[in-house]
Symmetry: C2
């Protein structure tokens, strides 16, 4: 009998059908047993009792959690008073025949309990199957769908940025290096920055979604040693505001897409959809500092960056006063931004760049780039770097590079903040940090 997806059962009321999936729960009441069955499309409660088939009950009682099964039965509408406010809550699946496709061992812990993070991570091949994890990574996949759909619509071309690089050009402290055939050292790209800028000369508007690697010696709820970087870059801009405006449209599109596709997931995770108004609040760093001084009395005016507590304060301020979970802070000083960052001619010493703050933290950096060859070489030298090491990248700037800019943001952090998840590792499928690759590393105590 052809398999029917659980999400489509409502179209088969009164009929016998076959479903396939996993047993997510068993409640055995002796004369009747209830199973929760799931497949990729949803869940349904199935009933085994003498009512449908007398062999069904003992067969159901043999099942355990996470068994993979094929079940034939009848789709019945529940009596009105038994209907529930959930997907398939109006249905009951009456089991007539059970085929075990693959058994499961006894669960090593209670899958429905809140697991501590190390137990969760040590057992991801099992714990990713929980409703919570499935919801998180469903949302993550939908963010990607929305990200790409919006950018394709806006004339962006996706490109594949290389991950092996020949030089840790921006400084090697946080770069993984390895032997690349004989005596050559290669490095893992910390971002697609140089390549996406090169690609604006080719397609004008480009984006990529790929892995970025950071050899950061941290093991916190915020750090990852590899993550998925969402990058875009666009040419023929007037200034950083063109980038910021397009990216605000992008974020609104992502939020709208999630409202259409992930209502159940947000509800399950007790997360609120972000407030994404028509215009995102935007203020210069110094304006933000002056606001903080005025409102809190804390004087940080002139500091080159924001303290974490002030990022949180600004987000609260934007939410309460400007109806926005998003706020742009612009014009960080040249000294605090990378060598390719464009200095705003209207505010010497300060860059035409921005961070996007969201729910208390920075989730994105971006801005206009230096697009003139001499100006870029000056930026490289200003940071004490050697222009010769950037000769490949610099080629692009010899041949008509228009004003351009872009952003980069981490998919996992974005997912975590959208869903109010405190530890980014819960929003990372198989997170790597300095102590963990799949299972915890076994290392000396010297670290």
């Amino acid at each position: 009998m052809e398999r029917i997806l659980i999400g489509d059962l409502k179209d088969h009321i009164g009929k016998d059908v076959t479903i396939k999936g996993w047993v997510d729960g068993v409640r055995d009441h002796g004369k009747v047993a209830f199973l929760v069955l799931r497949d990729r499309s949803g869940n349904v409660q199935a009933v085994a009792s003498g009512d449908y088939n007398e062999t069904a009950l003992p067969a159901a009682q043999e099942l355990g959690e996470q068994y993979a099964v094929e079940i034939m039965g009848e789709v019945k509408e529940r009596p009105e008073k038994m209907k529930r406010e959930e997907v398939n809550g109006e249905l009951e699946f009456g089991i007539k025949e059970i085929v075990v496709l693959s058994k499961a061992e006894q669960m090593p812990f209670d899958m429905s309990a809140e697991l501590n993070i190390d137990t969760h991570l040590d057992n991801l091949p099992l714990t990713l199957r929980t409703e919570k994890s499935r919801a998180i990574f469903k949302v993550q996949s939908e963010i990607l769908i929305a990200y790409r759909a919006f950018l394709n619509k806006e004339g962006f071309t996706e490109f594949q940025s290389p991950k092996i690089t020949g030089d840790d050009a921006e400084g090697g402290a946080n770069t993984f290096s390895f032997d690349y055939f004989g005596d050559t050292k290669a490095h893992l790209a910390t971002s697609p920055q140089f390549y996406k800028q090169i690609m604006t000369g080719v397609y004008e508007r480009v984006f990529s979604t790929g892995t970025a690697f950071r050899a950061e010696k941290h093991s916190t709820s915020r750090h990852l040693n590899e993550y998925t970087s969402l990058d875009l870059e666009m040419a023929f801009i007037k200034d950083y505001k063109d980038v910021a405006n397009l990216v605000a449209d992008l974020m609104r599109h992502i939020v709208e897409h999630l409202k259409e596709t992930c209502v159940a997931e947000f509800k399950l995770l007790d997360a609120e959809f972000p407030l994404a108004p028509k215009e995102f609040p935007m203020m210069k760093l110094v304006e933000a500092q002056e606001l903080i001084k005025k409102e809190t009395g804390e004087d940080t005016v002139g500091e080159p960056d924001l303290e974490p507590e002030h990022e949180r304060w600004l987000c609260t301020y934007a939410k309460e006063n400007l109806d926005s979970d998003f706020i742009y802070i612009t014009h960080y000083p040249v000294s605090k931004r990378p060598m390719y960052t464009f200095e705003d001619p209207e505010t010497p010493g300060f860059t035409g760049s921005f961070d996007m703050l969201f729910r208390g933290v920075e989730i994105m950096s971006g801005g206009q780039r230096r697009h003139e060859y001499d100006n870029l070489v000056e930026g490289i030298k200003m940071k004490g770097l050697d222009p010769d090491k950037f000769s490949y990248y610099l080629q692009a700037f010899k041949y008509g590079m228009p004003a351009h800019g872009g952003i980069g943001m981490g998919l996992e952090r974005l997912t975590a903040k959208f869903l109010n998840i405190k530890n980014v590792k819960e929003a990372t499928l198989f997170p790597r940090d300095m102590n963990r690759i799949d299972t915890l590393l076994h290392k000396n105590d010297s670290e």
Copy 2:
């Protein structure tokens, strides 16, 4: 004045508009100069002469190839006899005002000539701007769009597979390794195989598009040390044919999508759209060998694999006799396939796996996997590997893994074969091989 995209000029005939883009060519005839201008949406021929504005001609004569410019002018319909059979061939853009946004140095070589591969690769920031390269990577981006759209429609969830792995479990000869904080060695994933199998237990149907790394000591027209791997995996299959059938639908969808979006690119590259019939030819390895024997007299029956010349022969056979550029070869011996490959119970010693051959080469491997814990451990041991090293992966198989299978294929090779490009490096944006990361490596002669 608001910028108009070159691709939209036909909607502005008779009006003055502003366009932005690059100068792709200049022909100066003294009293009139012709420019080819391009932006992300297309090309147009622009004319500078006294007819439109007397300052336009000298300004145009100052321009060189790859200058980034902003040009104001009038969109005019050409006289009937001057119209050409190409995009914007019915238009002429009469230049009134030119603003140079960014100058370009003299071209280091003739951009319109066929470049040798090393010159091309040493200068990608410039050479990727050629019409040919832009066409290749446009097609590549459209392949990805079609790949993801089809799989999303079929209920697949995209996931992010980790690139840093803790063990080169399948054997380290072709794995890049590096120091991962102190005394730990980490490795770059050669495929998302284990993780995509784990993920079928979570979402049943999953796919990923990410970088894979191979430390292969080859420098040929076929090898890359990093590439973009298109992977998918699906559970609750009956056998490998369920995978092969879905993947045939996928390939047909990609071909149809390219026919809708990339006609100009295929024409420019002199490439034919693949023949993708309703059913892809499929034969067992031994059947293919018997066919080769019968038709050519060459007896390879019983060999564990096909010779390259026989892969070519089979593709020619399928095209000429079965109207297909695609052909599946199934049932390679257990000895030639990875440890996770399912042995077909109907043909002991031979696997329920396949290669897809296309235009003379293998572009994809796939098949059913071992899904029972004991059977998988047996497969691992059979290859002389240590099951303890696979304990993380093996967890999934303790908890109800249904029959599943999938495929992996390289995006760059697929792009190259679709477009009849001989060297895969031309279909790779920034190819890495053992002698090249961006520019050629400078190494000892010991390699």
